[in-house]
């Protein structure tokens, strides 16, 4: 990658890839959803289905374009999509784009906090474990991480809910804002308090993979020649890490964090469900339960973009450190 030209091509490729992925995901999802046994009209009307006559039903079908062939439906949907129209949600009776926009900030805030906390703590734990390899502390940290990796996110969420919400009563039991308050009365503080438990859940479980990964990477670094020499010069402990270890492991850790957007989103879905937190995850679950195809499609695409962004940043970071060394080597 040399200079501006290289970057332009790189970005171009990435955009192309994103588009092709989105197209693939959307087409595939659309086709899949046609096979669902859930009847969208029944899901829409709900319990009052019996009261709807056959005529009314066929009217609805026509309105929704369900008489068209699947390809036609796909094309119509695709066309609307390009124009920015994601359709209307059946559950919430709002444009899908609006719903996503509303809930986007909530989810992103939650995930950002969890991402930062789990990244920092995970990194610190991994470093400590590697520096004190095979000690009691290391074994404790490994045990903790392995256990966490096998723990259901929603169970941790339930436990936290029980302890902090019910028993101690310190934190609210659910929702994104205090119940019964009108929108203009809600402060940032309120929002923050409601976000604490879900964020804590996600942070706790997200620590495991980055801690183990950092531990492995730092262990590898500590077995290298230059560390041996540094030790021969009298460096040890934190000084050794600060001078030599840190810069060799910090980039892999950050790269891994960015590549873990997929897990993050998955965890958010579960945490939001337990705490009834109004984010994208909760919307996904509702859409799936009640057969809201437009909303579900929109959310699937949104999550795909999210994961893609994370992977792309990880890729950029990874390439940035590599060709720099290569370029310098060749100069």
């Amino acid at each position: 990658m040399t200079g501006r030209n290289g970057w332009a091509r790189f970005v171009g490729f990435k955009v192309l890839r994103l588009v092709s992925l989105l197209v693939g995901v959307s087409v595939l999802s659309f086709i899949l959803m046609q096979f669902s046994p859930v009847d969208p009209i029944e899901a829409y009307i709900g319990g009052d289905m019996i009261r709807v006559s056959a005529e009314q039903r066929s009217l609805i079908e026509e309105r929704w374009g369900m008489n068209e062939s699947p390809t036609e439906r796909l094309l119509t949907w695709g066309q609307a999509l390009i124009q920015g129209d994601l359709g209307t949600s059946m559950i919430y009776r709002q444009p899908v784009a609006d719903i996503i926009q509303e809930r986007f900030m909530n989810s992103v805030a939650l995930m950002a906090v969890a991402w930062l906390l789990s990244g920092i703590f995970g990194f610190a734990l991994g470093v400590v474990a590697a520096m004190r390899r095979n000690s009691k502390l290391d074994r404790l940290i490994c045990w903790y991480c392995y256990t966490l990796a096998s723990t259901p996110v929603f169970w941790i969420a339930l436990l936290l809910l029980m302890v902090f919400g019910v028993w101690l009563g310190w934190l609210p039991v659910g929702l994104g804002v205090p119940a019964g308050m009108s929108a203009d009365q809600v402060t940032w503080g309120d929002r923050a308090i409601h976000m604490i438990l879900p964020a804590l859940t996600l942070s706790l479980t997200g620590v495991a993979s980055i801690a183990l990964h950092t531990r492995q990477k730092l262990t590898d670094v500590l077995e290298s020649d230059y560390i041996l020499f540094a030790r021969a010069r009298g460096e040890r402990g934190f000084q050794l890490f600060r001078r030599h270890g840190f810069r060799h492991v910090v980039l892999p850790a950050i790269t891994l964090q960015f590549a873990s957007f997929s897990e993050l989103f998955g965890g958010a879905v579960l945490a939001e469900q337990v705490f009834s937190y109004p984010g994208l995850g909760q919307a996904t679950v509702q859409a799936g339960l009640r057969g809201d195809v437009p909303l579900l499609l929109g959310l699937v695409m949104c999550s795909a973009i999210f994961v893609f962004t994370g992977n792309m940043v990880a890729d950029i970071l990874y390439r940035m450190i590599d060709p720099r060394m290569k370029e310098e080597l060749m100069s």
Partner: protein
């Protein structure tokens, strides 16, 4: 023959055990040193016969294989016990008994009872058995798809691009989101959930299979075998299979923990098995309603049990990884 053990023990009072220094360990330095030693042309006589110190274990240095075998066996035993008890429990053990409602854990009911008086311990066991079954189906299904597509991608160039693109496609959506979508498509039920999980977990394994196959195909000894006239089938069976099978087996086994966790998650969200069947996810989602009433045992024990089962599969998978040498275990020869 001189007794070296005695000699070293004579000097133990004066030895300086280097391990006590609180600095980092470097096991690979040793590798490099013996690498140098082995670099000597091996025509010279090796110094006297080797003596194995089997059983005399240094405190801090246990053979990883030993640990893998022990823990792996324990994990298998635990899983089998859980599964069998879950399967073989008589159907009547989870009947409602309105007299015993909402009991906190006692000796008669180790996990307490729920609002219908059902024994949570039995329900949990049954739920675990179901989870293991679903995990089994999903892992095998996913493994099969991964094997076929991975092999296909590695052998046929044209298929490679398509399959790689499909793998990227599946991996670009978070697992849980695609699970929600697939569960919606398949409509729930045991088979549906298993199919959904199989479809979300095959990509990673397929990648591994594909990478392994590509590496094998370009290995020298494969080329040589081919040139020597061995038929493709024979090469495949004799040379490639021994490398592929352990990787595949371990890979499938390692899908289990994820499969079980995801099955519980999907069921928890309400998209999976029907509420009639006791599954951990259902148990936990129902317990949410009673949390504020303080019935903590409804959520605590089932989740803990699930954790232990998932962990057991994880341990089993990692033990096999160490034993078959498919992981990063450089420490063991």
């Amino acid at each position: 023959m001189k007794q070296t053990v005695e000699r070293s023990s004579e000097q133990t009072t004066e030895t300086s055990p280097v391990q006590k220094v609180k600095t980092t360990t470097q096991e690979v330095r040793y590798e490099i040193n013996t690498g140098l030693l082995k670099a000597e042309t091996g025509t010279g006589p090796t110094r006297q016969t080797r003596r194995r110190y089997a059983g005399v274990s240094n405190q801090r240095f246990r053979n990883p294989r030993q640990r893998a075998v022990i823990w792996g066996s324990l994990a298998v035993i635990w899983i089998v016990i859980v599964w069998l008890t879950g399967r073989l429990l008589p159907a009547g053990s989870t009947l409602t008994s309105l007299l015993d409602r909402n009991l906190s854990p006692t000796w008669a009911h180790p996990f307490g009872t729920d609002w219908l008086g059902r024994d949570m311990f039995m329900r949990t066991l049954k739920g675990l058995a179901t989870s293991i079954q679903v995990g089994l189906l999903a892992a095998c299904g996913g493994g099969l798809i991964a094997l076929l597509l991975g092999l296909g991608a590695a052998t046929i160039k044209a298929a490679d691009r398509v399959i790689s693109w499909i793998i990227d496609l599946f991996l670009s959506v978070p697992h849980l989101v695609s699970l929600v979508m697939l569960a919606f498509v398949f409509g729930g039920g045991l088979a549906g959930v298993a199919a959904a999980i199989a479809l979300t977990h095959w990509p990673n394994l397929a990648r591994i299979v594909r990478a392994e196959m590509i590496q094998l195909k370009s290995a020298e000894y494969i080329h040589i075998s081919h040139k020597l006239g061995q038929s493709r089938l024979r090469i495949a069976v004799q040379h490639m299979l021994p490398h592929l099978v352990p990787q595949l087996f371990v890979g499938v086994l390692l899908i289990f923990p994820h499969a079980i966790l995801h099955e519980a998650a999907i069921t928890f969200l309400g998209l999976g098995l029907s509420p009639q069947q006791p599954a951990i996810g259902i148990i936990l989602s129902e317990s949410m309603r009673y949390l504020s009433a303080g019935m903590w045992w409804l959520a605590f024990f089932p989740g803990l049990a699930l954790l232990l089962v998932v962990r057991a599969f994880d341990v089993l998978g990692n033990s096999l990884k160490t034993l078959t040498g498919t992981g990063n275990s450089r420490e063991v020869r």
